[in-house]
Amino acid sequence: SVSVLNESTCAVHSIAFAPEYIHLALAAASSDGRVRFYSPTDVIGLTNWTASGSIEFIPGGASDSDGPLCLSWCKSRFSTKSMIVIGGSKGNKVKVYQRDNVQQWDEIYQLDSYDAFVLDIDWAPSMGRSYHLIATACSDGHIRIYKFWPEPTHLSAELTDSLFIREGDEFDNEELGSAPHVEAGNGGYSDESDVDDDEDGEDASDEGSSDSDSDDDSDGSTSESGDDARPDRSGRAKGSGKKSKAKGDGGAGKAWVPRSELVGDLIVDPQVPIRRVRWNSTGTLLVSSSDDGVARMWKMSVNGTWREIAAITAEKSSAEA
């Protein structure tokens, strides 16, 4: 072995390396309710690792009997700050944490809480989507899939005045499903185009906005008025007098808060604990395995519903001796 990290005195349930876009780091969740982060001092030899922060997920600590703790890093390279989602242990809550500086993690959102143990959790690669996908696996036989919109990027603050936000819209309104498209910066090329290029950012902004168009999850009426507010070819938005619910830039309106939506609740009946869920490398396929020895593959249909497309069981077939 190259190195042994033994700060934790309890069982370690879940470990994960940070995505390659962030510097090399390891997160480890143990049953005392803490998630510890480690970084190597020597990136080549990897013999020396130091603790570089921790999250006290369960204030006051926890024990093995409270259930396992699981975690998953956000793998998006377009997020301004690293994020990690942790779930399980006492209270069976699922929360998202964001790193502000090197050692400090802050809780920014609670995704959900359950009546059953959270056995696994996975954050999908974002791949140009304007939202994040997080899947949780519970001992009650449910696999839950959430869409998650964290804070917008600085670029989307620029576009706040323009795209699709109409006067009088409630902030939680479903129609404002277009609002997250403003964070096309989260997933799309619009993040790569400089803010300075806003005047000329043709291709990037266009691709960002066309992605918004196609990803528009509002009904027809939004598209119609959206026609007026669609940015012109130069990438600059036409205001046409729209008032904005500003994104925490101190203007009129409320500050942005992260939000989520439970978009899929996949239930295995009769109930059997779902031990593991993983997304494929592009977040288009979800695979789960459970205590009944069945691995199931799930895909999203064009309607936005998640359906099982294949199941593989470890049980011997009746034809087999």
């Binding site: 690669p125 791949m127 140009g128 479903e174 997933g187 799309g188 090329y189 691709e207 960002g208 066309s210 992605d211 168009d213 196609s214 990803d215 528009d216 999850d217 009904d219 027809g220 598209s223 978009v263 609740d265 996949l266 239930i267 295995v268 009946d269 009769p270 059997v272 031990r275 593991r276 993983r278 490398s281 592009t282 288009t284 396929l285 695979v287 395995s289 459970s290 205590d291 009944d292 020895g293 069945v294 691995a295 593959m297 895909k299 249909s301 064009v302 309607n303 936005g304 998640w306 359906r307 099982e308 294949a310 199941a311 593989i312 069981t313 470890a314 049980e315 011997k316 077939s317 087999e320």
Partner: protein
């Protein structure tokens, strides 16, 4: 099609009814899941980075320390199974490749058409029709290939059925949205619909025709044949009116027919020949009036035959023989042909037949917008639960419910949904669906199709094209993610992958791949190739390290063998654009010049060799560790019979030696160390050379 839901979608999988594939061999006996799970076992997995393959194995739930020592383990616990959803079968390869070429051509065509607004629509429709026909030809080819397989198994039969369905769906879409919109052609959908019906639902007629009319039977043979009248009715339904007319003509002389049946058969046969056919020259008004006239004559016929039947029924009291049967059939045929909807519904077996006959005989100039009204009335007579996916897709298309249509196309085949949504997008009818679905259907289906091909060793390139030609942000990102995961099994494959990166300008991926290939080749000792890759990404540091390695190899072996490597690198760099900077890399220049020095020395051209050696030192392209060796190399030239170095040259050499000695003292390094004895020899040689040079110059 309902609008996008806003409530959470709940989906329940019923384990008892689930159709799961079993691992072979299985990991635990049938029906003993709970026992297996209670023994601290569960299933764990890992997903393949490229395809949808998954590795499955047995995992534990508790830590090992909390288990007792006598816990049993089994062989199955140590096995790893690799499974995946089956990728495309080889039987489809040719079809996939052909249609991929058409797809790419279609995207290019639409891009060019879009660029030039003035000709956009004109080029667009004709171009789209051409492309659509190319697609259908590929489908027909595939159907023929499948039909030619002797002794087909279940899978082949299903494939054949699928391709028939794909063709039927595609053809109907082409007719409704393309053919009837082509400038210059009639906008009536009826002739095209009949063509579609007969092309895609052909089977019964072909068989019957052979059985009945084959072998030139006599009129009496025909009349005796029980299959005759159903066959003639089908001919009427399908609009094969001239064939019907001929058959009636051949039948009429039969002695087995009653006089009235024979008379009406002849009369009907003549009417068949008089059926008006539309042409693009004729105005709608003129055609309609001809049609009405013909229809009136038919009505007269039908009424007359009906009366006869009524009279005969009264006389015989229901004891009708063949004569009545013939008359009844003639009555049915004339009712159908005059457009009586009840008669058509009674005779038609398939809803498509009824639809066709209704269009042909009651609304011969109908346009595509009449279809929803007609199909609605017809479908009511059928059990929808008995409909296949093909039926549902066709009905949705006729109803112009394109969102529903797409969903059923996806159930038929994923190839179909991807390509047809692309075609629909180019026809500009997909926007309606975009408001209904959560995601852009074209992007969704194309990406799903592309991803499914990536794990296939022959189709990965096709898969990448589908992702790239989505022309959306998500498609490009997914493509960039996957292109770096394509296994680079051979040089040729690596070149193909790099070509993809160039075509789609995936700079990050190209960078990573070049670096990866560079490292691979470096490890395998292919240093020239490694340098070429690093040059593509301007990684001068790595090139420098390779040059150091080359130099060290030379020093330890004493033989200069890297010449061809350097030549190869320099030659290839002058050809390719990206690595033009190679020529200026110090390490390579140094090695190249040093090789020249060796060659000149070996050839006895000492003066030139000396010049080269000096230029290496003066240009300061030599790395620090090589300076000592270079100075040692100068000793034979200094001592030689020929005067190689002038006084200035000698002073230069001494200056280099001096700075080398000073830096060694400062850093007390051993790199490039020149030991004392060699230093002394060098100094003496320099002094002697100086003396000589003063005398000579």
């Amino acid at each position: 099609m309902q609008n996008r839901h806003t409530a959470t979608d709940r989906f329940v999988v019923s384990r008892d009814k689930e159709a799961a594939t079993h691992l072979s061999p299985g990991l635990f006996p049938a029906g003993r899941q709970s026992e297996w799970s209670a023994q601290n076992r569960t299933l764990i997995f890992s997903i393949h980075p490229l395809s949808n393959k998954t590795a499955l194995a047995v995992g534990g739930k508790k830590t090992r320390e909390s288990l007792s020592n006598d816990t049993l383990t089994f062989d199955q616990d140590q096995r790893v199974h690799i499974c995946g959803i089956s990728t495309e079968s080889d039987s489809r390869l040719a079809f996939i490749n052909d249609t991929h070429a058409v797809f790419v051509a279609l995207q290019q065509l639409m891009e060019e058409a879009g660029a030039d607004d003035s000709t956009a629509s004109a080029v667009g429709i004709k171009g789209l029709v051409k492309m659509s026909v190319l697609y259908r030809e590929a489908m027909q080819r595939q159907s023929r290939v499948l039909a030619d397989i002797a002794d087909p198994n279940e899978f082949i039969k299903e494939e054949a059925e699928t391709f028939r369905a794909i063709h039927a769906v595609w053809h109907l879409l082409e007719i409704i949205y393309l053919t009837t919109n082509t400038p210059g052609l009639s906008t009536s959908i009826v002739p095209h619909f009949m063509e579609w019906l007969n092309a895609n639902f052909l089977a019964p007629l072909a068989e019957d025709a052979h059985r009945i009319a084959g072998g030139s039977p006599t009129a009496d043979d025909l009349a005796r044949n029980e299959l005759l009248w159903p066959y003639l009715k089908k001919l009427a339904l399908r609009g094969h009116v001239s064939v019907l007319g001929n058959m009636l003509e051949r039948l009429a002389p039969s002695q087995l027919l009653s006089a009235s049946a024979a008379r009406w058969a002849r009369s009907l046969s003549q009417l068949c020949r008089k059926m008006p056919l539309s042409s693009s020259d004729e105005t709608a008004g003129s055609f309609n009036s001809r049609w009405r006239q013909w229809n009136e004559e038919l009505r007269g016929h039908a009424t007359a035959i009906g009366c006869l039947l009524g009279d005969a029924g009264e006389k015989d009291g229901g004891a009708g023989g063949d004569k009545d049967k013939a008359l009844e059939a003639l009555f049915a045929i004339s009712e159908v042909m005059r457009g009586d909807l009840d008669a058509i519904a009674a005779e038609g077996e398939m809803w498509q037949d009824i639809m066709g006959a209704t269009l042909l005989y009651s609304e011969p100039t109908a346009r595509a917008d009449r279809l929803p009204a007609l199909v609605g009335a017809i479908i009511e007579q059928f059990e929808e639960s008995a409909f296949t996916e093909l039926d549902r897709a066709l009905v949705a298309l006729l109803n112009h419910d394109l969102a529903e249509f797409l969903v059923h196309c996806d159930h038929i085949d994923h190839w179909l949904s991807a390509h047809i949504s692309d075609l629909m997008d180019h026809i500009s009818v997909l926007d309606i669906c975009r408001r209904v679905f959560v995601v852009d259907p074209r992007e969704h289906y194309l990406m799903a199709l592309g991803e499914s091909y990536l794990g296939h060793e022959d189709l990965w390139r096709v898969g990448l094209d589908y992702l790239g030609l989505c022309r959306t942000v998500a498609g490009a990102l997914v493509m960039e993610e996957y292109v770096t995961r394509i296994p680079l099994d051979s040089d040729r494959k690596a070149e193909q992958v790099l070509r993809v990166c160039e075509v789609y300008t995936l700079e990050c991926a190209r960078d990573r791949i070049h670096r990866q290939l560079g490292r691979q080749k470096w490890q395998r000792g292919r240093l020239g190739a490694a340098i070429a890759h690093f040059a593509q990404v301007c990684d001068h540091d790595s090139i420098g390290l390779i040059c150091d390695q080359i130099w060290n190899a030379y020093i330890s072996s004493g033989e200069l063998t890297y010449g061809p490597t350097i030549d190869g690198v320099m030659a290839s760099s002058s050809l390719s654009e990206g690595s033009g900077s190679l020529l200026h890399h110090e390490g390579l220049q140094f090695l190249s010049k040093y090789r020249d020095f060796h060659e000149l020395y070996a050839a006895g051209a000492f003066v030139e060799a000396g010049k080269v050696l000096l230029s290496i030192l003066l240009c300061e392209i030599a790395p620090a560790y090589a300076l000592g060796d270079l100075l040692v190399d100068s000793i034979p030239l200094l001592e030689g019979d020929t005067l190689v170095f002038s006084s200035e040259d000698t002073f230069e050499l001494m200056r280099v030696a001096e700075s080398l000695a000073q830096s060694q003292m400062r850093q007390s390094q051993q790199d490039g160390a020149i030991d004392c004895s060699e230093m002394n020899i060098f100094n003496v040689a320099c002094t002697r050379n100086l003396a000589r040079s003063f005398v000579m110059f």
